[in-house]
Point group: C2
Chain length 579, copies 2
């Protein structure tokens, strides 16, 4: 039996940064080659970053990607790395403009593809068959489906290729691949993190391994891109589903593993219709001492995974957009405390700036809790009292009630944006998913900012994450970053004397369960009520959710961690009347 030394490069591309991405790719191939790898694989669209969205419909972008791919092949050859077979995801186009006959989008002019490179040339290109067009994905909009399967003959082994969604669909492609009896099915992915998603990936991959009676390598991107966080979680199983190797989540990694595979059936031969066979050169390796790195232990604490996903999403938004620093308002409450702790974990305390903006309605504890937080985190904090800024406007416009409450929030928004304009910080907005769901925020007030770290985190989970983060610090004998008082005190917007969130909203544990049913589970009103909730409350909450859509449309982006985030994951009309 030949041995394939496989290298899986779990990289964090920067979208559109061809120079930077190609440099990084060169480094990974160098490293893999130095370890004697036969085949080095990169993730879905690793050349460009992912998802490229409508850039896929711009010929200039596609021409550039192809040029960079060809240049990469040449550079690899020049660097003495030509013998290593490289598989890498890229957008393959522009292809001839489709006529309106076709079943797909008339603006789609590219395939979502994987190139096979060796000896300074692109030996073959596999085009993704199955294009996800649900949740956050619009791939039928931007790509045309491929229709030919591919086997790469490398180092005496047969390696079948697939891209992400391809393995999620039963049917022709998976059957054809199984019938071709490859030694390895290599799947390159751009699969965003979701709570508990790893509980789905591994069983699916095991199913494909059993179906094809082959090893399966699952390779994912890592990194944040706008509202998505790619968590990595690259791994390899054998035909019996045994986990042979696994990369850590949330960081770049090169996983090199020896696979003991059946000898190739394709050495010069054809395998049925609809298959392209790519012959890579390179001799068969056998009887080496097998490199089988112990699979990295997965952390099964869901809270830690979510925390890490949020940190990565925030860090990459800041660094990929080249912001020098972050600024956020610190109210003493739990949301801003968690956001500040995430910010410090993401980019370090010296680049995070807090602003306390007390009003006449701010309690003493909110100021002291904010101070305490800043001390614990070691971040700079300044205080800008708002009363003297609010009064002239309130007086001139004769404002009261909700208008006066919103004014306070908007003055705070102005302060943060002014400091951002003057000093270059990215403003974080600290709203959680629960308040975004019911519109419990002031638009252009507390919602101002370029990034919303916890927009997909329900209030009850915000508390859980805070507790977990403090526990984690305790376990390491470090200062707990989040003041206990911020976790335990009843939440309040403090826009009028004695105000509490629960004056106008149900208890958060009830509210979050209701929102999960209505939003994530797409349940109707009657179905939600049948879960045991009070009908009047359900009606009020649904009405709040429906009517807040216009605010959500103008909200900042932030990392998706749930099955159903707001934004492109949930597309609903603003103008919508329940009758």
């Amino acid at each position: 039996m030949p041995i394939l030394r496989l290298a899986l490069a779990q990289t964090n591309p920067r979208l559109g940064d061809f120079s930077g991405n190609v440099d990084a790719i060169m480094g990974f191939v160098q490293n893999a080659a130095a370890q004697g790898s036969d085949l080095v694989a990169f993730g879905e669209m690793a050349l460009t970053g992912y998802p490229i969205e409508d850039l896929a419909t711009r010929p200039e972008f596609l021409h550039r990607a192809r040029r960079e791919l060809d240049d990469l092949a040449t550079r690899l050859l020049s660097a003495g790395l030509g013998a290593t077979t490289v598989v890498i995801g890229f957008p393959n186009g522009p292809i001839a403009l489709p006529s309106l006959n076709a079943a797909h989008s008339p603006t789609a002019i590219a395939h979502n593809a994987a190139a096979v490179i060796q000896d300074g040339r692109v030996l073959g290109i596999y085009n993704k068959h199955h294009l996800p067009n649900y949740s956050v994905f619009d791939e039928h909009r931007n790509f045309r489906p491929g229709n030919s399967a591919m086997i790469v003959h490398v180092a005496g082994c047969d390696v079948a290729l697939a891209i992400c969604e391809d393995i999620w669909r039963d049917g022709d492609l998976m059957t054809s691949i199984a019938d071709a009896h490859p030694g390895l099915l290599l799947v390159i992915n751009g699969s965003p993190f979701e709570r508990e998603k790893d509980e789905v990936r591994l069983p699916l991959v095991r199913k494909r391994a059993a179906q094809a009676n082959a090893h399966v390598a699952y390779l994912n991107l890592v990194g944040g891109q706008d509202d998505l966080v790619f968590d990595g979680d690259t791994f390899v199983v054998n035909a019996s589903g045994k986990l042979l190797a696994r990369s850590p989540q949330f960081i770049e990694d090169l996983l090199v593993v020896d696979l003991d595979l059946p000898a190739s059936r394709t050495n010069g031969a054809q395998i049925g219709d609809g298959f392209t066979v790519v012959q890579a050169s390179g001799s068969t390796r056998s009887h080496v001492a097998l490199r089988t790195p112990a699979p990295v232990e997965r952390n099964e604490d869901g809270r830690e995974q979510i925390w890490n996903a949020l940190v990565l999403g925030l860090r990459d938004y800041v660094t990929k957009n080249a912001f020098p620093s972050l600024i956020l308002g610190l109210s003493g409450g739990i949301d801003s405390a968690v956001c500040a702790a995430l910010a410090v974990d993401a980019i370090g305390a010296d680049r995070v700036f807090g602003v306390s903006m007390p009003s006449e309605y701010s309690s003493d504890h909110s100021r002291s809790d904010a101070d305490d937080l800043a001390d614990r985190l070691g971040i700079a904090m300044r205080t800008e009292a708002i009363s003297t800024l609010v009064e002239p406007i309130e007086g001139q416009l004769n404002l009261s009630d909700v208008a006066a409450e919103n004014l306070q929030a908007r003055i705070r928004g102005i302060i943060l944006m002014s400091l951002s304009n003057a000093e270059g910080h990215l403003v974080l907005t600290t709203g959680n998913k629960t308040e975004i769901a019911v519109g419990y925020s002031t638009i252009y007030g507390d919602s101002v900012g370029g990034f919303a770290p916890i927009r997909d985190v329900p209030k009850t989970l915000v508390w859980e994450l805070a507790k977990w983060r403090n526990e984690a610090a305790r376990r390491q004998n470090l200062v707990e970053p989040i003041p206990e008082a911020s976790i335990t005190k009843p939440p309040s917007a403090e826009l009028r004397p004695g105000q509490l969130d629960q004056d106008t909203l149900p208890e958060y544990d009830v509210l979050d369960d209701m929102l999960e049913a209505y939003i994530t589970k797409r349940m109707g009103r009657d179905e939600v009520i049948s879960l045991g909730f009070d009908a009047e409350t359900v009606d009020r909450v649904i009405s709040l959710v429906d009517r807040a859509e216009w605010k959500r449309r103008q909200g900042a982006i932030g990392p998706k961690i749930s099955e159903m985030a707001f934004g492109r994951d949930r597309r609903l009309p603003v103008t919508f009347v329940r009758s």
Copy 2:
């Protein structure tokens, strides 16, 4: 030859308002029946409004739609209207959850459908075959394609059905329909307005008429729904492509026309595979005096069409969301002047409120031009000077330069939002497409508001529309609504002394041409330069456009009038690095 008396109901549904929509439908059927119509047709999703977006994935919504459809059939029968055949668009579902095998979205559980109703029953349902998934459409996300064509046998005639995108694709469906030799092809649409789109629809319909050697009736919705404006433009051509009847654009209409059709071939017979034949009762009509209303003359002035589309989009956003009134800042400039004139045309001067918010940098003419505008439009205007509101913040935060400029815009935003909160107005934001493209605005400042009437109107077109609107007033001997000075003076944000837009931007005619090439035509940098633009300017403009994506994501919605509007028509990453 039998005569079919066809009624085409160009209705303006309110999305989700089943009660209101069904009541309106009853009225239209009553009217059509009173005129002796054999068949009354309604537009795509006329029962629910369109587009329903992800509501199509919510079982409750689909169950409700089906219940309302069945109730409509019963109500029609009870009202003595059972004999009239009704064709109406609705979402047909929920259908059994698809497995991941299918080529379409796993969350799509409905068809985009047309029901045929008669005698208190749903006789048949046609499911749309071709699902647009480009531009603003996400139909592969939300619907499953149908696979059976349909002929309705009514009053001795054969009527084939199609829905919107169905007729835009050559191939099987159109060929099958042609082979079935129907007398009439009835196409129900939800086709949004775009500049010059009517130049495409009529030739396409004529092509289908020739292909099938049949009459074709093209029926469209009318009305505004979020960022889309449905313009109506319902019409009928005969097999030779002659225009027999046409409804006016932008208003509801019932078009009743007698069509002299070949006798049915389907009376009890089957027509090939893949066809469903629905037998509606009703006897053949012949030898009547033909009702052939003269087609409404189309206004071929593109500016008038655009103006009317903008007015309708704005009016329907206000009325369908039940806002009592509008408020907007009046700067004396052309953008706010055009928005105010649109607002008055949309909902009347008594519901439009202007606010002049001068600063120390405001010129005398900006105040007098704003006054003049308010006088011409007959709207209430108040003045709120901002200097005393700006100074405390500027002083406390020690702001200068851009931070101080943005502060002025943000204080104005606060004033408008405060008045909205206190008095209930919808705030209009007056940014045009050019400034939204290059990010020439202050986020949370002049961008605040729930609706952006001219967000898809480039600056040069704003001027053209202003001139046209004044000309139109002149032709009717009415007061020209827009002050001449607002049209002719050089544009300025007036955030510092003597500031002019052209200090930092290219001339608007150059800039708009450049943006058209880069954005609408999806040209690359080199291609734009090859049109004759200065390379350095092109690079600067492209960079401005790319970097303003985060602001656009947080911008208000507004009516699409171009081939490529910002928003769901153009989906690009925020985090995107040009290297």
